[in-house]
Amino acid sequence: MGTARKRFGSTLVSATALAVSLVLVAGCGSGDEDKARTKDGKTVISLGLFGVMGYKETDLLDRYMKENPDVTIETDVAGDEQTYYTALQTHLAAGSGLKDIQGIEIGRAKELVDTQADKFADLSKTPGLDHFLPWKQSQVTTGDGKVLGLGTDIGPMAVCYRKDLFEQAGLPTDRAEVAKLWEGDWSKYVDVGRTFKQGSKDSKVAYMDSSTGLFNAMIYGDEKQFYDEDGKLIYQDNPVVKDAWKLAADAATSGLTAKLRQFQPGWDPGLSNGTFATTVCPAWMLAHISEKAGPANKGKWDVAKAPKGANWGGSFLGVMEDSPVKEQAEKLVAWLTAPEQQAYIFEKLGNFPSSKTALDIPAVANGTSPYFSDAPIGQIFGDAAKEIPAKQVLGRKDGTIKDTFSLGLQLIEAQGKSPDDAWKTTDERIQKLTR
């Protein structure tokens, strides 16, 4: 009897061990919850965002939740877009970990349109869609008319400058006069830098933050940058890219830059401590500058019209096709990108509306920025927006190629390589990454 019980006992133990191990292995595979997530009986909508898109920074989401008491919104904001997009790609490939709503940066739009269109919900049926700028909407529309996202903002450009630093260098400080100095040509902007360097009493203050900003400003003033309409790489021969590279390299080798990397450590304290006098600023950068430069510098910064209009950046909000709360998410996206809300974010942060209708709202058209010496940013960026090419050709690896070019400019700026060597390295890198 005793031995029989013992035997039964050990068989039980071994069976349990086997079962437990199977469960351990299997447990990680399952656990997918297809049901809509709810909390306290409310529908939960999750947003994946990056940078300062204005939804977490303003009370817009709270207002939406108040108007729709059955909805709870959760946001997950990544500071760095590269990090954000890498995670998004991984989640798209794995088919899990996606939020209901995902932000899309313009540099990634084409790649998502080309390769991931089926994972996004079609927003072309959204009522009132025609209030967007036509070129903006076309950037996330597939060949067969599927709309992957709705525009949040665009990036018309200006030049942000420090009045006090201009004054000590003997340059005019009035924004109209400053804009006159470089009117019409970016090379004049660099020439002003040489005057600044000569006149400056503080050798530690650079004229501009980085050559990358100048490069971006120049290439995005044209309808084509790295690719043509057929998706062929043209950066090697595109005069726009070549000219931009030349001028940016010129600025970098003339010691006009602070050799900083935008949005990286050193740039933020540079904004607050005034280690550079100008930075090319798309509208969405104003929020960043005013936050990082801090209240102590209020009124020292100003905004002047850029030599040439261009569009740098701007984003979209897309809804995931598999989202359990697809309809509610679509409704939320449409509301967040509606003209009134875009105008509201512009008022609060300076992100410039991608909605045609919003441009005529007085708060936008007559908008001023108290932080930037009450500059009429509505008018400055509004005028710049009109100069943006009506058509913009995007390419699959736009974002990555742009990053590679900024690395290439750093080779000149911080590593001391010759512009020719740096171009060669950059060219090789792009060939490798697009291979």
Binding site: V13, S21, L24, Q82, A93, S406, T425
Partner: protein, 327 residues
């Protein structure tokens, strides 16, 4: 009677044999099942992917390339650059780290007040996350406003651009590694040191050996197995170095290991190919190259250990037996 018992008896025999034979295997089954699912399968699948051209955005479409990913990799100077960076950062972080750990363990091995406190304190850097440590160090090494350049400024040193120069960048990264792992290794050494019989030290002391001589002739030989173990462990860690340089560089620079790839390690190159260029096939080839390198190091280490164990060692016993009153 007998006919009715026989089948039962044989069934019992089977159960009995199963009991003896299968139960131990069942007990260790969880490890092998999990290893199969999360270790072996990914390993083989990675190899399968490395023979193809696969993009991250479309994992289901594969294009057969054979060994082309590998041959291209060996012709790519980025690979050799990353390999040499991995090696140099590995050396300048592992060697000082293990030496410091040894010294630290020796100090902790003394009888001192509050030894538990110090032992725990030594381990705290290891408990912090890579990200937090790397971020703090990145701020310390920052060019314009970093604390290290600020201190150097008192000695008349101009602001060093740590990130964009090769050796300063690699040095900065290795300090993060050293800071995090020294305490961990010190505790391993300490554990081994405490296993050395006290009478060896007493005998050495009677022989008139100084602390330093005791350390050299008693402590180090006594923990040699642990030293080899930590070297292997640190080598594996150094080969896989990833988080520290990634965060140290910040943004696109981190992934490329600096504008000139001056501190791009193999781990970063893998990440760049896979998650920036979205070429999973090429990334998998790098992963397998790293795996093969680790195996190579392991084999070399075994061979080295065998060769070393064959060479006759100085015999310690006579030294202890030597009459102490020689003078």
């Amino acid at each position: 009677m007998a006919t009715s018992i026989d089948p039962r008896q044989s069934r019992r025999n089977i159960l009995h044999r199963l009991d003896l034979g299968a139960v131990p295997y069942t007990f260790i089954a969880p490890f092998f099942l999990i290893f199969g699912a999360f270790g072996l399968y990914p390993l083989l699948y990675t190899f399968w992917i490395s023979l193809h051209r696969v993009e991250l955005s479309s994992l289901d479409t594969m294009e057969w390339r054979g060994l082309a990913n590998f041959t291209e990799l060996f012709e790519d100077d980025r690979f050799w650059n990353a390999l040499s960076n991995t090696f140099t950062i590995g050396v300048i972080s592992t060697v000082p780290q293990l030496l410091m750990a040894l010294g630290l363990a020796h100090l902790l091995n003394y009888r001192l007040r509050g030894s538990v406190f110090f032992r725990v304190a030594v381990l705290t850097p290891y408990a912090t996350s890579v990200a937090a440590a790397a971020l703090v160090f990145t701020m310390l090494f920052e060019r314009d406003f970093g604390m290290i350049n600020w201190v150097l400024g008192f000695f008349g040193v101009d602001n060093l651009d740590w990130e964009s120069q090769k050796w300063p960048a690699q040095f900065a990264i290795s300090t993060i590694v050293i800071w995090r792992w020294t305490g961990y290794n010190a505790l391993l050494y300490l554990a081994a040191m405490q296993a050395i019989p006290k009478d060896l030290y007493e005998a050495a002391a009677i022989d008139g050996a100084s602390r330093w001589q005791q350390f050299r002739t008693v402590t180090v030989p006594g923990i040699s197995a642990t030293i080899v173990f930590t070297i292997v462990l640190s080598t594996i860690g150094a080969t896989q170095l990833f988080g520290e340089p990634l965060i140290f560089g910040q943004g696109p620079n981190g992934i490329s290991g600096g504008a000139d790839n001056q501190y791009q390690t193999l781990g970063l190159l893998l990440y760049e190919e896979g998650w920036k260029n979205y070429q999973m096939g090429r990334a998998s080839a790098i992963a397998w190259a790293m795996f093969l390198i680790l195996i190579l190091i392991f084999v070399l280490q075994r061979v080295l250990a065998r060769v070393l164990s064959r060479t006759p060692r100085p015999v310690k016993a006579p030294r202890r037996a030597r009459p102490s009153r020689t003078s």
